[in-house]
Symmetry: C2
Subunit: 149 residues, 2 copies
């Protein structure tokens, strides 16, 4: 795929993300390293929690979904990430869940101060294999314009 | 440390977080798994980027900081995470950076519909070893009340 610049992005354009499989091992491994709440790391504690079983750290869900979003971007001339929108959490992610990431480009806005670049966001809505909402969030990027490079 | 419930939390109370060391290897490993942008994974591409060198995925920074925040919470009766606030990004994180996480409890609010629990947030401001701002963000939790358990 050829390099895409700010001008090549289209408001509302969907990204075609592959599914995200969340395994028990990966859930426990991520949580032990980064988010060691008992309901993320320990089957017994998780069984006694309001979830009734192990659930993924939302940072793990975010990270695993980011992988497929970045792959789906293709070769976009991203200069930098500039922020992430509020993360809304709905249903928990459990071992074996397969997540579908609906992602689309939005909020395209050329920089007025630096016209060789523009801002763009990717909004994401993640659902599980039952179609239940899992998380919603967004990335904000700074992207090079075609004639600036 | 004894278990702390919603009523034990104090608005504005600081969490005592240990420093976060961001190594080159950890930066590359996290990014290869979760956020494979060239300026996170590849020294050569990163050298040609606007950063002039390798920088950490902000999701890695968030995850690594979450580890020390969770440790600093002690044994709080967290029922669930319910969301994360917008992540504001300032300066990039580079290999060898040592991050200081300023974190404090805020937005304590007992649930009106379910008085056996309350909402609480932790706001975080992360700076590097030069005192430069890195990221600001927040966690939102649901926490059990003492007499509910």
């Amino acid at each position: 795929m050829s390099k895409r610049y700010y001008q090549d992005l289209v408001e509302g354009e969907d990204l075609d993300c592959r599914p995200v499989v969340m395994t028990r091992d990966a859930i426990i491994q991520f949580a032990k390293e980064f988010d060691p709440q008992p309901f993320h790391t320990d089957e017994h504690s998780a069984a006694l929690s309001i979830f009734g079983g192990l659930i993924a750290s939302s940072l793990h869900t975010l990270s695993a979904c980011t992988r497929v979003v970045v792959e789906a971007q293709g070769d976009v001339a991203i200069l930098s990430g500039v922020g992430m929108d509020e993360v809304k959490m709905f249903n928990p992610v459990r071992p074996g869940d397969v997540l579908v990431v609906e992602a689309w480009w939005t909020d395209l806005k050329r920089s007025r101060r630096q016209p060789d670049r523009g801002f763009a966001a990717i909004r994401c809505r993640v659902v599980n294999q039952k179609g239940e909402p899992v998380i919603e969030y967004g990335y904000r990027y700074l992207i090079a314009c075609r004639d600036s490079v």
